[in-house]
Symmetry: C2
Subunit: 354 residues, 2 copies
Amino acid sequence: MVTRGIRGQGSRSGGRPTLEEVAARAGVGRGTVSRVVNGSPRVSEETRAAVEAAVDELGYVPNRAARALAANRTDAIALVVPEVESRFFAEPYFSDIVRGVGAALDSTEMQLLLTIVGNDRERSRLARYLAGNRVDGVLLVSVHADDPLPELLVQLDIPVVLSGRRSENEPLAWVDADNVAGARSAVSHLIARGRRTIATITGLLDVYGAQCRLDGYRQALAAAGLDADEGLVAPADFTEEGGRRAMTELLERRPQLDAVFVASDVMAVGARQVLRERGRTVPDDVALVGFDDSAIAHRMDPPLTSVHWPIEEMGREMTRVLLAEIADRRPATTRGTKGRQIVLPTKLIPRASS
Amino acid sequence: MVTRGIRGQGSRSGGRPTLEEVAARAGVGRGTVSRVVNGSPRVSEETRAAVEAAVDELGYVPNRAARALAANRTDAIALVVPEVESRFFAEPYFSDIVRGVGAALDSTEMQLLLTIVGNDRERSRLARYLAGNRVDGVLLVSVHADDPLPELLVQLDIPVVLSGRRSENEPLAWVDADNVAGARSAVSHLIARGRRTIATITGLLDVYGAQCRLDGYRQALAAAGLDADEGLVAPADFTEEGGRRAMTELLERRPQLDAVFVASDVMAVGARQVLRERGRTVPDDVALVGFDDSAIAHRMDPPLTSVHWPIEEMGREMTRVLLAEIADRRPATTRGTKGRQIVLPTKLIPRASS
DNA sequence: ATCACACATGGGAGCGCTCCCACAGTACCT
DNA sequence: AGGTACTGTGGGAGCGCTCCCATGTGTGAT
C-alpha cells in the first residue's frame, strides 16, 4: 500500500488546534475545556469565559473522530432508503421525508447521512459500514417485509426507527400514518354522499399498510350497516396497471357499483382510465377516492379526492423518536413501546371526483 | 450533562471485536493484523490465512472512528449541493451526478455523504462539520460564483473537486463539459442545414459555462465566415420566462432570423412558445437548437435538437479526480493542473426542430 | 564462515478526545 | 475544633486503531 504521508499533516504547526492547546492558552486543564465545549454546568463563569475566548481565538473545532472513539458515539444518524436511486429521486415521498428529518435535526449537532441502497452489493457495504460503529442510529424508510436490514440493526444493537410497521406487532420503534382511519374516512365520505355499492382496490396485501386500508374500508361499511360483499374487493399492487386490471375486474363482477375507494392515487389513475373507456363518468356514475394525496391527485380530471398523510411530519417524528432512543440507550428488550411507536393522523381532502 | 452510560456498551463482553482480540486469536501481533486488514503485501501467506480466519470467526470489522483518528483520514467524502432541497430532488441533473459518483465509489471503501445546503444555517453547520475533520474530500456541485464554500475548503486544506469552473482560470480541481465545442457543434449544424441568420439566447453571463456557450456560438459563425451581428445575441437567465423575453426581443430586432441556438432546453421551451404565438413554424421558418439534452427536449413539439453532456460521467470523473487528490495529498499549491482539470465531450443530438 | 540486506513480525507511541477519580477549596453543620 | 458535603478543577487512563522502530530470521554474496 502506498504510504500516504498523512501523519503530521494536521498537527502542531498550522494544523487544527487540539483541546490541549486550547487548555494551555486558557490556562486551565484539558478536562475543563472539554466541560466547557460540551456545555457541562460544572464550570465557573470566569473559567468558562476564559475558555470560550481561547476557543474563539484559536478557532478550535473538536475532532469528531477522537470524540467518537472516546465517547463511543458519532453524532451522526443514517437515513437508509432501500430503493434504487431512480425511485428515490422520482418519488416526492422521499423528498418530504428528507425535509422533515432535516428540520428535526436543524437544532442538533447530529449529522445526517443519506444512504440509498439499490442492490445487494450496496446493501452489504452498508452492513459493513454500520458494523463499523459509524452512526448512532438509523432511520429506515420504505422497508419491505422481507428486508434483512432491521434484523441486522437489532443484532448490532443500533437504535432504529421505521417508517411504517411491517406487521401488527412490530417490535421496533416506528412512525406510521393512521391508514385504518384514513380509509374509514374515505369510505364514510362516499357513504355520506349517498353511495351504497362501494368497491375497493387494495394495495399489495402483504404490505401491512395495504391491509390496514382494507380494514378501514370494511369498518366504514360495517359502521354504516352496509353488507360486506367480497366481490367488491379487488386486490392490486400499487401500480397504475394493477389499478386498471382491478377496475376492469370490478366492473365485470359488480357492474352496478357506484363508488370505488382506491388504496393509492397511482392505482386510481389506472382505474380512472378504465372508467373512461367504459363510458362511466366520474363522479356522476362512479365516485372515486384515492389515498396519498400525491401530486397526480390534483392533476387528474376531475381532481381526485384523496386521503392525505403527513409525510414531512413523519420524518420529523421519526427523528425525534430516534434521538430519544439514542439518548435513552439501554438494552433494546427492556424498552417498552410507549412513545416509540407513533401513529399520525390522516385527513381526507375532498375534490371533484366524489 | 447526563451520563450516557455508553462506555463499555460495546466492549469486552459480546461487543464488537477489536484488532487486539483478532491478534490474540490468530496468535500474532496487533501490527500484523492491521497489515492484513489493510492489504499490505508484507505479510507471509500462512500468517495472512490465519489472520483472515480469525477475522471471519470473530466477525471483525475495523472501528472507523479509531482508524480515522490514528490515520487522520476518514474514508468518507461529501457531495455538497448548495441548493434548496426541492431543486435537488426536482432536477434530474443531481440524480445523474449521484449515480455517477456512486458508480465510481462502488469499488472503494469510501463512503458518500450527501449534504444539501439550502440556507445559511445549514451552510455554517456544514462549515463546522468540515472543520471537524470528518471527510477526506468534497465534491462541490452547482457552485455559484460567489459561494464562500470553495475558499473555506482551501483554507481547511480539504481536497475539493468542482463540477464546472467558476472562471477561465479556476485554480481548484474541476470537471466540466466542453461547452464551447458543444455550442460550436450546434451552430455549425444549423449552418450546415443552410441557415444563415442565426441568433442565440444566452444563459446568465456571469456563469462561466454560459459565457463558453456564447463563445462557441461566435466561433462557429466566424469559422463559417458569417458576420457577427450583436443584434442576434439576446442575454437571458436560464429560465423559461427569460427565454420568452429574449425570443420576443430577437424577433423585434431581427425579424429575418432563420435559426436560434438557445443555451438551455428550459429557455428553448420559452422561445418555442413565442415562436408559436408569432406564427413562426419550427423548423421551417426558424430552426431551434437547445443545450442540456434534458427530458423536456424529447417531449417538445417538434422534439428539440439539443447538445448532450455526460452528467453521470461527470460524477464519475469528479470522484476519480477527488480520490486521486486524496491519495496524492500534499500542499495544494504545489499541485499542477494536470489531470485535475478535465473537460468532457459534448454531443449534438439532432431532432426534428432543426 | 562472515557480512549485508532483505523480509516478516511484535509492540510502543500516539492520534484527540471523554470519563472519572482525586484533590483542593469553600460552606455549613455539629 | 472537627466533620460532612458540595463544587470546581486537573490530569491519568483508555477508546481502537496506524505508524514505525526494533528485533528476529532467512537468503545470497563475499
